[in-house]
Subunit: 599 residues, 2 copies
């Protein structure tokens, strides 16, 4: 694919690069005396120089003749250099910060490129939201290559989103400058069932000569996986077993091994490579979703590389998995992913190959970060005003809004309750007896059962789903959030109607986000005014806000890990077993709406 | 790049493939019980089935559920299957046969795709010649993917060709259906010197998102090689030392290791891989130029794979070098080069991995060859009439045409004589004393010196270069050929003017080719009426004709290997030291015309 993520396209600068390599012109920048992690041949080369001009590499080897009086010289003094790290699958919105701020967090860690799938904002703001993310990225040097979200809504017919994507939108968006590939095709049932609209999206992507990224999360690695790959999907990050990775790679699919904040699949699935003597050119490491505190405390791809090496992976291979392999996955290896002539000069420096800690990041030939900090300015975010105006519930929310009328004449009811499973994406349907008061079914803290509601918040349709959830451990209060996958409606859960109403109205007032309420008081709040998903605050401040929210939830009795992430998945109707959307309770085994009360 | 070399583009058939993989529709063809050479993971997998429909692979694994009553089933009975072999750099014209006939020769050997660089015919017939090659290929199932010749003429200003290629032609031709990439950029001095027209061709190729193929044949693996690669060249087949291969791969360039009829570089240069423990994803095997007798006696890529394995290369790697690696080089690995879902069903069968002898070839899901023979019809060639009308010398050639006037009043002269070196592309300049008779310098069989002439034959310009050549061992007679790189003018050499005139006129009469004459008699003749380069006869007949010519040359006293190939390079002014073109004698060290007589 043509590379639009560079200072200048190669075809404009081949003459200059040739002259610099020959010493006829002097380089703008020369790195001297480095230890090159050569990802092409999987070797370490000592005493290597790199000559750079116009944002691209002119020469790798002895660059003495490329140094002139205006050449900036960096003495690597024997430090390792490697191609800048790339994340082949990432949702920036999960970090709750803007793309520019995300760049500020990850570039000093050595990330120079991401293939982002902005399907969260697309569910809220549609293609305009995707465009806003692409535009926002431009204020940073990070190469934020955007996929076109493929599944908006995630599960059509069961929820209401702010927008929808079909083959026509895919066709249009594929021509956008900042776009590279189709976002994760979560509707694998549609792919396997030869659904016309889904395959229409695949076809438009292939016609545009772009890459289809995958999401194949079921254990059928026979017919189903073959059907999925035969439909043109080139990579997948949903492996949870080593055999998933092995079979995907054997079938020519890039296996993107995930190590995000919440889902730690990599240590398990990397056994596919560690335990088998196989060619691993189809292996990559990715993050998928990262919370702001993970970015600050652990890092990004550097962290994942370190973790993979700790699991026993050869460090050079680990570097290949975040450089040349993802570049080849996206058919961009002629532009990115190696320190070789002609490529974009995206280069990281570090001291220890077995414990990669990046000390300097170069993008397009410019030093953009040193010692953990950006060395170039990142401008202010400028999301369009429409992205700041996404709370359209359309009716007042009061304590009455959370009442759940029981069948007439009952003192107690048997309800279908969603029981969460900490640290897992799946959940269970439980049939539980709940008491009825004044005709309304009630929450029951004694059984760890809260009330729950999902208010449509995009087009003021007034639709609201109501139900019960078990397992969060709350003894009091309520929580609300507009990060509620993938439609990102207004999700509220609580032990009493008054606190629930306060939580909901708190988020409506601040344009969306997350909050915790107890005894009529807002304990903590993470405002996410951009689409109800992001804030343009610095990542450090966001991490602090999220930390306070976590503390509030603990105070209310919730002890599970990342509870807001587990809560956020409750409306995602493509996961088993029981989900609640703004349209009601969905049985995700039969893909049918179901009644809240069983009797 | 979009694949135009398939039965149907993937985007048209994803739904069908998905249905077949799921068993909802039955496959057209199922291969059962094969040993799969998995080029993705470099493993052998036992007991593998492959389900195929619409020319593409729907499933690899257990295909029992894909078999219906109309499914053709091939029981591999434990035979190996591998992706069809590809040659990443080949000039079909060197085999002196048409592309269709070439296909008939190589497809039964397991070749399913070639990246051909038709620069020989382009020198004679221009872009129309290239188009004729592409059209000719369509009568066979072979995927003949054509490069756009980059260097026509090979060395501008020193010879006259039938056509010329510049950036504008490259721009136009890149949009052609049958085109994939730019042909070997032989003008590496122009690349290194930042020549505007040469870089214009590179730029047009890069703008078209196509691959630039290389020809970098000098020992400078420092500045020069870097400048060349930085200019966007992705592969090169001109390595003659192991270190060339190593440095090219280290610099992210695909090293195409050559094993053609005349140049046997591979056994030497493959040491780069055999002696170093490196990642070899940038390694390929190619043929470059193959004579018809080699195709018949030895084979094509199967032969080269066998030779590489005999040198000690792991057989699975050897298969990777002719499948997934060349496919990735041309950024076509999502379409070709592996037996994985969605890819073109180009598959070969063989019994012994260490001695690959292909017994069946499938292209686009159809069995096209079995047991050494095509099983599908290849139609008649239909080159346009212009390609059959390329002998335009424009003046009668007689014995007088070969007279070389000596400086007035001399009995003998000191002449600059071209001395050939058997089995090498270079030659030497020798200063030799030649006798003068009636004012004309004479050939001298005692010193093994023949006369030589090159007649421009494209546009009847009447230009003729004359000189002397040493080293062929001829005791009598003359030889002529229109295979005379790269301008392919009419080249004649001989011991006497009368036989030379007969040889020249014999070729003019038959539309070009090669012939040997002695004592006023034509001893052997290989007519090449298509552009003076090819004949549409079957390869077997061509091999026989070439064999008779070789016998005639031996009879005339020439004992060196492939003499017509060595002779054919005499006009190629980009090789050292002294060359003769239709414009005169060229000193290829200084790139200047030089005088024939030194005194």
């Amino acid at each position: 694919m043509l590379n639009r993520f560079c200072k200048k396209p190669l075809y404009e600068v081949t003459r200059t690069l040739a002259r610099v390599a020959m010493g006829e012109e002097k380089a703008e920048l020369v790195i001297q005396n480095a230890r090159l992690v050569n990802v092409c041949t999987a070797e370490i080369q000592e005493g290597v120089d790199v000559a750079i001009t116009e944002g691209r590499i002119a020469l790798v080897g002895d660059a003495a003749h490329c140094v002139g009086e205006h050449t900036v010289v960096i003495d690597a003094a024997g430090q390792y250099i490697a191609p800048g790290f790339m994340d082949a699958h990432i949702h920036v919105e999960s970090s709750m910060i803007t793309v520019g701020e995300y760049a500020r967090a990850v570039v000093p860690r050595g990330t120079t490129g991401i293939f982002m799938d902005p399907h969260e904002i697309c569910n809220v703001c549609g293609p305009d939201g995707v465009r806003a993310m692409i535009e926002d990225a431009k204020r940073s040097p990070l190469k934020a290559m955007s996929n076109v979200p493929s599944c908006v809504p995630a599960v059509a017919g069961f929820e209401d989103t702010g927008s929808r994507i079909g083959p026509e939108e895919v066709r249009e968006m594929m021509a956008w400058d900042g776009v590279m590939g189709l976002g994760e095709m979560m509707n694998f049932p549609g792919v396997l069932a030869a659904d016309a609209a889904i395959h229409g999206e695949l076809a438009e992507t292939l016609k545009a000569d772009q890459v289809i990224t995958g999401h194949y999360s079921v254990p059928d690695i026979g017919a189903g996986l073959n059907a999925y790959i035969a439909s043109g999907v080139r990579c997948c990050h949903e492996s949870t077993r080593a055999v998933d990775v092995l079979e995907k790679m054997r079938h020519g699919m890039y296996a993107l091994m995930r190590y995000g904040s919440a889902w730690h699949d990599m240590p398990v699935i990397i056994r596919a490579i560690l335990d088998n003597h196989i060619d691993d050119r189809f292996a990559c490491l990715i993050s998928d979703d990262t919370h702001p505190d993970t970015l600050i405390e652990d890092g990004h791809m550097d962290h994942i590389v370190r973790c993979a090496v700790r699991e026993g992976l050869d460090p050079i291979k680990a570097v290949q998995y975040v450089t040349i392999n993802p570049a080849t996955c996206f058919r961009m290896d002629h532009e990115l992913g190696s320190i070789t002539p002609g490529k974009c000069a995206d280069i990281v420096f570090f001291d220890d190959l077995k414990d990669v800690r990046v000390t300097r990041t170069i993008i397009d030939g410019e030093v953009v970060a040193e010692n953990g900090k950006m060395t170039v300015e990142i401008g202010k975010s400028a999301f369009p005003s429409a992205c700041y105006d996404t709370m359209h519930v359309g009716h007042p929310i009061t304590a009455e809004s959370f009442r759940i009328a029981a069948p007439a004449g009952k003192d107690s009811v048997k309800a279908r309750v969603i029981e969460i499973i900490p640290n897992r994406v799946g959940n269970y349907e439980r049939l539980l007896d709940l008491s009825v008061k004044n005709g309304f079914a009630e929450a029951d803290p004694a059984q760890d059962v809260m009330k729950m509601a999902v208010f449509e918040r995009h087009h003021a349709t007034g639709t609201t789903g109501r139900g019960f959830v078990k397992g969060f451990g709350f003894r009091k209060g309520a929580m609300a959030q507009t990060v509620a996958h993938d439609a990102h409606n207004l999700l509220v859960a609580g032990t009493n109607d008054e606190d629930m109403a306060l939580a909901a109205n708190t988020l409506i007032a601040c344009g969306g986000g997350l909050c915790a309420v107890a005894d009529g008081t807002v304990l903590a709040q993470v405002p996410l005014p951009i689409a109800g998903l992001m804030n343009d605050l610095p990542v450090e401040e966001m991490a602090e806000l999220v930390g306070r929210l976590s503390a509030a939830w603990r105070e209310m009795g919730c002890t599970i890990n990342s509870p807001y992430m587990t809560m956020a998945l409750i409306p995602l109707a493509c996961l088993p077993e029981l989900r609640l959307t703004n349209r009601g309770l969905v049985d995700c085994r039969s893909f049918r709406f179901t009644e809240l009360f069983a009797d």
